[in-house]
């Protein structure tokens, strides 16, 4: 076995165990209990009225792409911040000012997005 696998073996084992618990529950419940399929039971629930238009017709936007892109930008910022935060003290003021510039750029980005109305959800 390659050393990487060995190294992560405990993790994989724990993950496998963790996955087996819910899957085991689902399998158990699918074996137990009564079964009675009726055509109406197999229809979508929409407040007791037959669902007439298709789910995938029409637009359901929550400005989703904007949110996703903003998320990417800022989440990556967070990722960059963590290593810096660990070595904040050794790096000292120099590191702080460097990172301050980085944060400043991102804050400017946030301000821009805000101004442009990317943060309006009305």
């Amino acid at each position: 076995m390659s050393p990487t696998i060995v190294r992560f073996f405990p993790f994989l084992m724990v993950f496998g165990l963790a996955l087996s618990i819910p899957i085991g529950m689902m399998v158990l419940s699918s074996l137990l209990g009564p079964r009675k399929k009726t055509p109406m039971k197999m229809e979508q629930y929409e407040c007791g009225v037959p669902s007439t238009t298709d789910v995938h017709r029409g637009k359901l936007s929550v400005k989703f792409f904007l949110v996703a892109i903003l998320f990417l930008v800022f989440d990556i910022e967070v990722v960059f911040l963590f290593p810096w935060a660990v070595v904040l003290r050794p790096l000292g003021m120099f590191g702080f000012i460097e990172m301050g510039l980085f944060i400043l750029v991102l804050v400017a980005g946030l301000a821009y997005a805000w101004k442009k109305g990317a943060l309006e959800w009305e």
Partner: protein, 159 residues
Amino acid sequence: MGIETLFGKSWVTARIDDIVNWGRSNSPWPYIFGTACCAIEFMSAASSHFDIARFGAELIRWSPRQADVLIVAGTISYKQAPVLKRIYEQMCEPKWVIAVGACCCTGGMYNNYCTVQGVAEIIPVSMYVPGCPPRAEAIFDAIVKLQGAIAKESVLDRA
């Protein structure tokens, strides 16, 4: 049909029945199909004064897939009937129906062109609660009686 019915009519099935029925009778999650005055009395039943939570029925599910007991509280008009039918059909087994109130049981005082004369026309009813509207205690009585009825069921019945 689940594997719990494999044992047929035997001692094992009887013990499984005990456990399953204990679970089912103690946690009857209701779906409230409340339309009229009886729904207000159902609110009373849920209020602090009476507290339906005591019977394990506080967790009102608004999705029929997760509910066990369909509580039909209030007048059902012919316009409403297909909706009720659909909700009932979409509930997962095992399911029970409590018809609360005179209108729901028999049409009550609305013996006219638009009111269903008893929901039994549309869906099977397990418990009838008379009254216009029935008191909260009467609703509890129906729940307790239903629990008793559930305790007498067998997993074979619903296979």
